[in-house]
Symmetry: C2
Subunit: 362 residues, 2 copies
């Protein structure tokens, strides 16, 4: 077990290290107040904390630096859950409003927002839950041209202009329209079989292959709607972190990130929407992230869609501030996009932080 005093000391080390990015010594801790003992005592404690694996020394005569295990302890038990200042909260709300007013929030907007708020690279990800076609329309434009309009589950509308090499008459359009409405709506993507297409084609008496053009679009649209998409922004903010002064290191991580981040667990894997998850250094699966940390929050994007916002930074990250901001952002997004059973404001004090369930450890 770890004594109360050790906890205090550990917390002080982490706080200080997060602030300064320099190894912290016994003296600094003694002076920081909060502890009523001399540096010598603290030295003893520090030595023990090193032995226990919570801290390490870059070299014999340097201060101490938290290990991933130390950060984990800090995140789980020690850090004081930060509340956002009123200004911060208002600023964030303002920005959210601005983004969400003009268009639906695209994931690129969400990730940009997260990155701006936290000053770290951020990524956003959505996995739409199995979309289906709710309604189907064909608009006849001219003999060679028509428009397909699909209304999907979840108030999305997709449309496409189709030019044909042959001419079709309006009655065929009519027939196809009602046939598709009858048999292609409310079914999952994988239920659109070649068999179904063929039988529709026959039923509509379509000899020029219009059916297959349309069904291809349907499949494509559903596939796209079901494919989780990811977006990352603010990679460059990495460069302002001292741990990425080495261009090679920075380059490695940045190309990993922009190569499409598989960093995040799937949104379904996340539990409670108000939960914030923290993955510290080696807890990450990806080799490239082994000495970075990732903080993740999830939001409800409506229509059974879950979204994820994540922030990437060095292990020496301001966990408390970032977690609070992300949670606030996620809650705001849920409130505006989602079903709406999210408690209104000010709920950012019951911040739940998780991340070390046994599955995720080696």
């Amino acid at each position: 077990m770890i004594s109360e005093r050790k906890k205090k000391i550990l917390a002080a080390v982490v706080d200080e290290y997060i602030r300064t990015a320099e190894p912290v010594g016994s003296k600094a801790i003694a002076q920081s107040g909060a502890l009523h003992c001399s540096s010598a005592t603290i030295r003893n404690e520090l030595a023990e904390l090193v032995a226990m694996g919570y801290l390490e020394q870059p070299h014999t005569s340097a201060g101490r630096v938290p290990t991933p295990m130390g950060y984990r302890m800090y995140v789980n038990e020690l850090m004081e859950k930060q509340k956002l200042s009123l200004e911060e909260a208002e600023d964030m709300n303002r920005r959210l409003e601005a983004k969400l007013r003009e268009l639906d929030a695209t994931i690129s907007d969400v990730s940009r927002l997260a990155s701006q708020m936290t000053d770290y690279p951020a990524l956003a990800l959505t996995s739409r839950a199995a979309a289906t076609v709710k309604r189907f329309d064909l608009i006849y434009v001219d003999a060679n041209t028509f428009i397909i309009v699909l209304m999907l589950s979840g108030s999305t509308v997709k449309s496409k202009l189709v030019h044909l090499p042959v001419s079709v008459d309006q009655s065929l359009m009519q027939r196809l329209s009602s046939l598709f409405n009858a048999s292609f709506t409310n079914i999952a993507e994988d239920q659109i079989t070649p068999l179904l297409i063929r039988s529709t084609e026959r039923a509509a008496d379509d000899t020029m292959g219009v059916t297959s053009v349309i069904s291809a679009f349907v499949i494509e649209t559903l596939t796209e709607a079901n494919t989780p998409s990811a977006f990352i922004s603010g990679e460059n903010r990495l460069l302002s972190q001292p741990e990425f002064r080495d261009p090679d290191k920075a380059h490695k991580l940045m190309s990993y990130l922009s190569g499409g981040g598989y960093i995040l667990p799937s949104p379904e894997g996340m539990g409670d929407p108000s939960e914030v998850r923290v993955l510290i250094g080696p807890e990450n699966v990806a080799e490239e992230l082994k000495d970075s940390s990732v903080i993740i929050a999830s939001y409800d994007a409506g229509d059974n869609t879950r979204g994820l916002i994540g922030v990437v930074g060095p292990t020496r990250m301001d966990y408390s501030a970032v977690a609070a901001k992300l949670q606030f952002l996620a809650a705001g997004l849920s409130r505006r996009l989602g079903g709406g059973e999210v408690p209104p404001e000010g709920m950012h004090n019951k911040l739940i932080i998780k991340g070390d369930d046994p599955n995720e450890r080696g």
Copy 2:
């Protein structure tokens, strides 16, 4: 005037410097062949080239490095216009096909492609020429819901689902649909005045403000279609360039780039689509680009839309290779997206390179 031999020497310096990123000395040039004289002679010539402003020395006992003026001379007259190797051309075509098959090429795809091909950060930009609505449809879903479908000039279709707080009947929809078709099609965005909207509202006998919802969407869509959009990708590739080993420098440029690059001249400003434009160091307007170079090509994206692809790198850039690749890419895009009067393949030998017209100099 500059002698023939000086030109050869200058070219050799630039070539070598591009290759190695190290100042090049007289000896290296002498050994590189191409010149039949000793290093001493070359030294004399080099001294004169420095005096003329084409080269400079980082310090007394170092080799020579090209000045922007030297690069300009190189780009305009000296460099051998590179042709792509057959493999490169084929590879590029393959990728283009792959991208363009599935969906229309979004500018994000284009910029990603350019970045991948050249290994520099790349940005893409389109300015759509004044879009108009070609056709207008309203699809009645239920009493509170309908879908607006706009077909724009240039085969784009936009649609939106609208939920109303009040219920409307199908006949109103009908009336609005034909009214909008009659008076909102083929007119520019700024011709949609409050007056026009009001009169339409009256004509349709619309007492619940549906008209204004619809016209708002029309305006929004046209605005969006007319707004040039920019996209940048591959910023991280900067970091592999030795001139950006300094994280601060890299950070500055990268944040400038991702802050929305106004780097590129507007597509209209570009002349012939097969022209490639090069802006060297201080020739750039933006302060942040004063010691970087930008290479730009434009393509015809169909429907009177011009697109631009640009690549950003250090002044020590492989102008010849990048220019060739960009031109090929632009030509490929034009061929696939645009009107089609672009000569088929193999036209990349008549590469035209420009960039130093008097307007652009200080």
